[in-house]
Amino acid sequence: MVASFFEAVVAAVYRVINRRRVWYRLPFPIAVINLLALRVDLRRLNLFDTETAPLDPPVPIGFDVRHCRTADGTFNDLSKTWMGMANARFGRNAPLAQTFGEQPPGLYEPNPRVVSRDLLARSNFVPATTVNLFLAAWLQFMVHDWLSHGGSDRQSPPLRFPVPEGDDWPKPEMTILHTRPDHQRGPRDEGRPATYRNLVTHWWDGSQMYGSDLQMQHCVRSSPAKVLLPDGKLYLDETGHLPLDPEAADDDPLRELAAVNGNWWIGLSTMHTLFSREHNSIVDRLHIEYPDKDGEWLFQKARLINAALIVKIHATEWTPALLQSPTLQYAMRGSWWGALGEAYFKAFGRPARNELLSGIPASPTEQHAAPYSITEEFTAVYRLHSLIPDDFSFRQHSDDKEILACTMADLFGGGTTKVHRKVPFDDVLYSIGTSYPGAPVLHNYPTHLRRLPENINQGIMTDLAATDIMRDRERGVPRYCAFRRMLRMSVPKTFQELTDNETWQKELEKIYGDVERVDLLTGSLAETNPPGFAISDTAFRIFILMAGRRLKSDRFLTDDYTDEVYTPIGIDWVEQNGMREVLLRHAPSLGPILENVRNSFFPWPKSAS
């Protein structure tokens, strides 16, 4: 009560300050407290539940829900056991009345293909030179853990709009399938905005590796002969790579097997391989300590530990690489180690179960204004396809000599297997670590993603940039100005206030006419970012709300982040390891290269040729 009163007062004071000055223009300590104040308001005013009649799942028989994560995410919250489970609805950050999908004719204005072609399409690759390509691969690895809308709706008539004259698109009309609808709406949903379901668990539980149902979990734990590995490990082939997917489509037989292997490319393949190997290393370590425990127990504990390690790497390494400002470095590392910092934590442990003092892990679980779920607005601000380059070069880590040059289109689906057959794994890691991702700005959307062969036999192509624009409009994600308004941010009245780039101002004005029409994605890519940030302040607001929430709502990262649940070895594994340790454990030859790399997501030095 006292804490919440104090928080409310601080939040109120900062609301007044922020009317005159945005948080990143304040001195360091004041800006840090400002971020906390923003989060207080966001937790109170921007979390909305869309479930109206969720059904309680059956209690799994013979499974210890108290000490292990269930495959489908049920029983994480023991009072609302459905919370965060696979197939639960996406929540919202915008008040529900503002989340009705847009209707024609406004739905198609301005034409999404024009936005894609004239504002998003990459003319020249703009690299983000402060980070390496692992940043992009990691992000997609995480997104596959958190969310999936599933395949598009093939039953309803698609969205249709004309392709402008002179466009090189092969057809005069562009069609985009609707998002898969929620087929479980009931009487209480009548008149309410459309809802969508997340096919994977909402929790940060490694479901992209371990699956969101028991069948898939057994699949990744089984040999090609479909025999469950008795030792609790994930199946990797004799070369330490992922096996081929036995269910792969006929036109893509070399696709690797992973619980989530859609939009598969070399970056994702590398992450899955690395953390599957890490899982197996954790199993080996646990087996030494607990030789009497069976494979099921070892698997479940290793899963908990591996997932928590991924969370920690995201909070303390990936995010500070993405948002390179002293305020954010402190705040994000503080979310794991607390205000007293890593050094204090490693010397004395957590002084209290207080989120601010000791970080979120082991602090009390809290759901704030709504039951936990990933939100549509979160999905929208994570549309960062611009991070993907179009061209790629694989080189030897020993002398930087090129082994293979290819386009990203060659690295999709089964293309990854072809690469692994030609390029040693350590060299793949080296090549990714020394390459730049694209910068998330206008005119930097990957060319190949704007002309994806969705169904090449039927001549169906996808312009993913146009699809991104349509998805936000269709799902009722507010446009840029409305989005900022609902986050209580200042709203640009002119294109000049939106971006400092004069060329972009003119281009945006030509296509949108009025700044209120600007789409969230376009506005976020055009916006002048806070110093050191690779993303916009608009996207960042959702980020600071949801980044903490993914931990704070999860029993296994808060109340049950304990020796009892993880084992002392498990907690120690999480606390003592990071991305560098994972890389070196599974690619020890990279030692000299990583020696002076402060953050594994920063560009690695190239080997001398």
Binding site: P95, L96, A97, E102, Q103, R479
Partner: protein
């Protein structure tokens, strides 16, 4: 979770702002609108205030009447049928809609639109009802008084301003409690919705809004409605049991963003459903659709 403010002998009030909790309390059989002075001091003052200002000839306004009151239930049913545009009755004229459209498109003043709305609502009960600047001012004062306590209200009471406002509205409603509720209380929901609609119409994205989006971005529930606990009542929604005389403040406006639908705004599907639901949504949609055919006044 609902907030229970309890100081023995002084106050015993529960503030409820979660939609599911509001629904549960509203439907609980131990909770009703039986406003008789009982319980601690502040509870008695709240009840006294309700009875003093929202009664006509010893009878409370319909939105404050008992669940079991048969007259209320019958009237509610008849009104719902009479106020449904689908029933074929003329509930508004073309000229009245045109006046509201002019306001939504950025022309005419808020007061003119408010008086026109009060006129439309008044005519539902009495074809000769006459709304003017004085009745609208009186309705605004009563609405502010109903919203919650503030020190200025003491001045309104001491100077007789509140009494005069109430008496004017009662006189214009010709002592009809339903007309009084509509023209003094209910009208504000429509007026506020029109103001929000005007802001939506000014946006260049107005053409992409569905009817539902317009309705639920415009309509908001009343700020709060009171209920009283009738008998000792155990509930998981607050710590400890509630006793007879505890006042529940259902904070509908706070809950609104979490449940933008007819259930929270009109209590649709509940015993106390607003009979004007179809009328209000019909009127607002008629205004909105026509406003899309008109140009916005810069």
């Amino acid at each position: 979770m609902a907030r229970h403010i309890r100081v023995p002998g002084i106050v015993d009030v529960v503030l409820v702002s979660d939609p599911a909790e509001i629904r549960a309390f509203n439907d609980a059989l131990s909770v009703d609108r039986n406003f008789i002075p009982r319980g601690p001091l502040i509870n008695r003052l709240i009840v006294g205030r309700i009875r003093r200002w929202f009664e006509i000839m010893g009878q409370l306004l319909p939105s404050l009447m008992l669940r079991s009151d048969q007259v209320r239930a019958d009237h509610q049913q008849k009104l719902a049928a009479a106020l449904d545009p689908a029933g074929g009755a003329t509930l508004w004229t073309d000229a009245q809609i045109a006046a509201l459209v002019a306001y939504v498109c950025g022309g005419s003043s808020g007061d003119a639109a408010s008086i026109m709305t009060q006129q439309i609502v008044g005519n539902l009960f009495d074809p000769l009802y006459h709304a003017d600047r004085a009745t609208w001012k009186a309705a605004k004062l009563l609405d502010q008084f109903r919203d919650g306590f503030s020190p200025i209200q003491i001045v309104w009471q001491l100077t007789g301003q509140l009494r005069r406002a109430r008496n004017l509205l009662v006189a214009r409603a010709k002592d009809d409690r339903w007309a009084m509720h509509g023209t003094a209380i209910g009208v504000h929901g429509v007026v506020k919705a029109l103001a929000r609609m005007r802001a939506l119409r000014a946006l260049p994205t107005a053409g992409s809004l569905s009817d539902e989006a317009v309705l639920w971005q415009s309509l908001t529930p009343p700020k709060q409605v009171p209920r009283m606990v009738e008998a000792r009542f155990d509930t998981p929604l607050v710590a400890g049991a509630l006793s007879a005389g505890t006042i529940l403040m259902l904070k509908l406006e706070t809950a609104g963003p979490r449940a933008p639908d007819a259930e929270m705004v009109f209590m649709r599907g509940h015993w106390n459903a607003c009979p004007a639901h179809a009328f209000v949504t019909g009127l607002l949609l008629a205004v909105w659709r026509r406003s899309l055919q008109e140009a916005v006044v810069a």
